[in-house]
């Protein structure tokens, strides 16, 4: 234990400091808009970290995680609307369904390599969107509206104020961050990295690559589904075009890549930067048609182009043990 703390003192200090900032910051905010931005940051951070397991650590770039996001959101929506079930339960139901779907889809999907995996996941997510759009039980295109004005509270996870949302979401961010940190240095994490670096050699040293890839896929599906559940409870209205568009799938990747793919806090940094840019450019430049997304896209290009290892590379100076960045890993492979 002591060794662990010593080895990670850097991380622990930074982690506690930023946690403190994250907890205290809302107390100085009086208007809801910045708080809304912070809530979105939490959602994207969870999604980014979830995707990071399969896309970052295992190197299997999925472009279809919107499917799991949607499943999570719908689990809460339908649970609340049709069964009056507490989101605290249904969010885990959503996680289980997502993991199940990932398990079923994972077997054929994970056999595919590189771009094929990306396209196949993309196609599956698109199918999912169309199916939800035409599925009457889940409301179809009309969506699920579970704004339940009568009983806000902890049971329904509906609040009139934004503060409880923020702190609940922050708790989840912290939990998943710690989970990532734990897996980062575990056997599991190293296996995944080995698979990413070279699947064949990983297989040859006795790693059951398909099993670990599947595990990572299921884990990431579950976490992303959790983000979907939380977002649904925040929005209180969902339809397939909100929770399952192609854009969400791409943004999940973007969050992670911008922050630093395959790192613990990369997705969080990416979520902060990306959400702030996106929300504030919209608020500032919305009077000119299209200008906000233009700026947004241009900033993404600049960041991804000049910092291919993510924003995290700005903060990383000298380290005793150098961990190979994904770029370096890819270069060594060549």
């Amino acid at each position: 234990m002591k060794n662990y703390i010593e080895a990670n003192s850097h991380f622990i200090i930074k982690f506690l400091a930023s946690l403190l900032v994250a907890i205290l910051l809302p107390l100085f905010i009086k208007t809801p808009f910045p708080l809304h931005v912070m809530i979105l940051i939490c959602i994207w951070a969870i999604m980014g970290m979830g995707w990071n397991f399969i896309g970052g650590y295992a190197g299997q770039v999925s472009n279809g995680h919107a499917l799991f996001y949607g499943i999570g959101a719908y689990a809460c929506g339908i649970g609340m609307k049709n069964f009056n079930a507490s989101p605290w339960i249904t969010m885990w139901v959503g996680v289980i369904i997502s993991i199940g779907v990932a398990f079923v889809l994972g077997a054929p999907l994970l056999r595919l390599k590189g771009h094929y995996f990306a396209l196949a996941t993309m196609a599956i997510a698109e199918c999912g969107r169309i199916i939800f759009l035409n599925w009457n039980y889940v409301g179809g295109a009309t969506g699920v509206d579970f704004l339940n004005k009568a009983e806000p509270g902890w049971y329904t996870l509906q609040f009139t104020s934004k503060y409880p949302y923020y702190y609940i979401f922050l708790t989840f961010v912290v939990l998943i961050l710690l989970l990532t940190k734990g897996l980062d240095k575990s056997k599991f994490g190293y296996y995944l990295r080995a698979i990413k670096a070279n699947e064949d050699s990983a297989q040859s040293v006795g790693i059951n690559t398909s099993r670990y890839k599947l595990l990572a896929f299921m884990l990431s599906a579950g976490v992303v589904s959790l983000a979907g559940s939380l977002y649904a409870n925040y929005l209180q209205y969902i339809d397939p075009s909100i929770v399952m568009p192609l854009n969400v799938s791409m943004m999940i990747c973007l969050v992670t890549v911008m922050g630093g793919i395959g790192t613990v806090i990369g997705p969080v940094i990416g979520a902060i930067v990306l959400t702030v840019i996106s929300e504030y450019t919209r608020a500032t430049f919305s009077s000119i048609s299209g200008f906000d997304l233009f700026i947004y896209g241009a900033l993404i290009i600049i960041i991804v182009l000049f910092l291919p290892n993510g924003l995290i590379s700005l903060f990383r100076r000298k380290q005793k043990i150098r961990i190979l960045t994904p770029l370096e890993m890819e270069e060594r492979m060549r």
Binding site: K30, K149, S161, I242, R282, F306
Partner: protein
């Protein structure tokens, strides 16, 4: 990249980030410092404000932004009419500067972007809390209305929306108002028109087919259409749902051609309307009548994009330039000449800008910007019938926020203009039935 370059980029990046953040926050702080965290009470709107701010949500990017710009122009027209002394226009609030009952306070619009349904929630919230909007209106679809309503209901701010889905009024929103008819009324009128054609013109319409896009807009209309068709005794030969923004609509059109209904009822956005018409033409297929349910059929782009191919299309509507009311022509000309740069006023643009006008009326009648007072005024809105510029008898909102005095119209396109064919009382244009084939033999 070398270390130095990296460091420069880092500082540049961080400072840029902070500037954006500070910019965003500064904007929030200038405004009233009310703590919204405790939301059991109404947000206090700063009474010292010089102007009455109204939040307007419009699609600024994406396929609908052109329509958004037109709505914006029309809203500016109404704001000018209210804020300035326009003796030539005989509607309430025009003869005075600003809102007389609020000491001549002027109207100011604050705009937000309606990119997708989930941004509607945050943008509505931003307009209410950061910009101090006392009411929200804009170019909403039904789905956007639902998310925007989450915010407006929470803060107790009136929401004026022309999302036509009947589900909106069934939800029991407290502060939701709709000036123009909902889908049920539109669809009912479409079928009544068909019945009338059967009687007066021996049109012999028996079969109908529905084409609807697969989001909320199309799905709801398809449901209502199905009920109405059964009620009025028409046979449904095809009920097609398709993905909007599809890359091709061949199979939908082929299916339709195969079943050959007398009337095709379509609920589509403009992109799909263009593609359908082009595809029908390529297949040399023309039904006897194409009845659109607004959406893409009520846009000015229909004429520029389709030209002659748009002739004869019908659409339900709430307003038309050929209503026999002098005010309509006056407003239409004012809009065309001074605000839109030559584009004719169309129904959907007028609908959204009328929302704004009605909201201003209610605020004026209430004499306050308090939401309860506005709601009270809205429910008892007084409006002289001779000063109306819309079809119907006035503004009589019921408990769920629907204007019960509104009437639906049916328009047909003739010579690049919408001409009213139904109801008969308006009697503007006799209508063309059946449609001629694409190519003369």
């Amino acid at each position: 990249m070398n270390r130095k370059g990296k460091r420069i980029i880092r500082y540049l990046g961080i400072s840029l980030f902070l500037i954006i953040l500070a910019g965003g926050c500064a904007k929030d702080q200038e405004l009233n410092q009310t703590d919204y965290s405790n939301n059991n009470k109404e947000p206090e709107i700063n009474k010292e404000e010089e102007t009455v701010k109204i939040g307007v949500l419009l699609p600024m990017s994406g396929a609908q932004s052109k329509a958004g710009q037109e709505v914006r122009a029309a809203m500016n027209m109404f704001v000018d009419i209210i804020n300035e002394n326009r003796n030539d226009i005989d509607i309430p609030l025009a003869q005075s500067e600003g809102l007389p009952n609020l000491g001549g306070k002027k109207i100011e619009l604050v705009f937000g972007d309606l990119k997708s349904a989930d941004t509607a929630l945050s943008e509505a919230e931003r307009l209410i809390t950061s910009e101090g909007a006392v009411g929200i209106c804009g170019l909403f679809s039904s789905a956007n209305t639902k998310t925007a309503a989450v915010s407006t209901e929470k803060y107790g701010i009136p929401l004026m929306s022309e999302g036509t889905s009947p589900t909106l009024t069934e939800k029991g929103y407290q502060y939701f108002f709709r000036v123009f008819p909902d889908d049920t009324m539109y669809v009912e009128d479409s079928f009544k028109y068909l019945m009338e054609l059967n009687e007066t013109k021996q049109a012999d319409i028996k079969t109908v087919a529905f084409i609807s896009e697969d989001t909320e807009f199309g799905k709801n209309i398809a449901n209502v259409e199905k009920k109405c068709a059964e009620k009025y005794g028409f046979e449904i030969v095809e009920n097609i749902t398709y993905s909007s923004n599809a890359t091709n609509l061949i199979s939908e059109s082929l299916k339709l051609k195969k079943s050959d209904p007398d009337v095709v009822m379509m609920s589509s956005y403009i992109s799909d309307v263009i593609l359908y018409m082009k595809t029908f033409k390529q297949l040399n297929y023309k039904p006897k009548m194409i009845m659109g349910q607004r959406g893409g059929f009520m846009t000015s782009e229909l004429f520029t994009a389709l030209g002659e191919d748009a002739e004869g299309l019908c659409s339900t509507s709430a307003w038309s330039l050929d209503l026999q009311i002098p005010l309509v022509k006056q407003l239409g000309d004012l809009y065309k000449e001074e605000y839109s740069g030559g584009v004719e006023m169309i129904a959907d643009v007028l609908k959204c800008s009328t929302d704004l006008y009605v909201l201003c009326l209610a605020i004026n009648q209430a004499g306050s910007t308090d939401a309860e007072a506005i709601k009270e005024a809205m429910l008892n809105l007084e409006y002289p019938e001779e000063q109306l510029f819309i079809a119907g008898t006035g503004f009589e909102f019921n408990e769920v926020g629907q204007n019960t005095a509104a009437t639906a119209l049916i328009c047909q396109i003739k010579d690049g203009k919408y001409r009213t064919v139904y109801p008969n009382s308006i009697n503007a244009y006799e209508g063309l039935f059946p449609l001629p084939p694409w190519y003369e033999k």
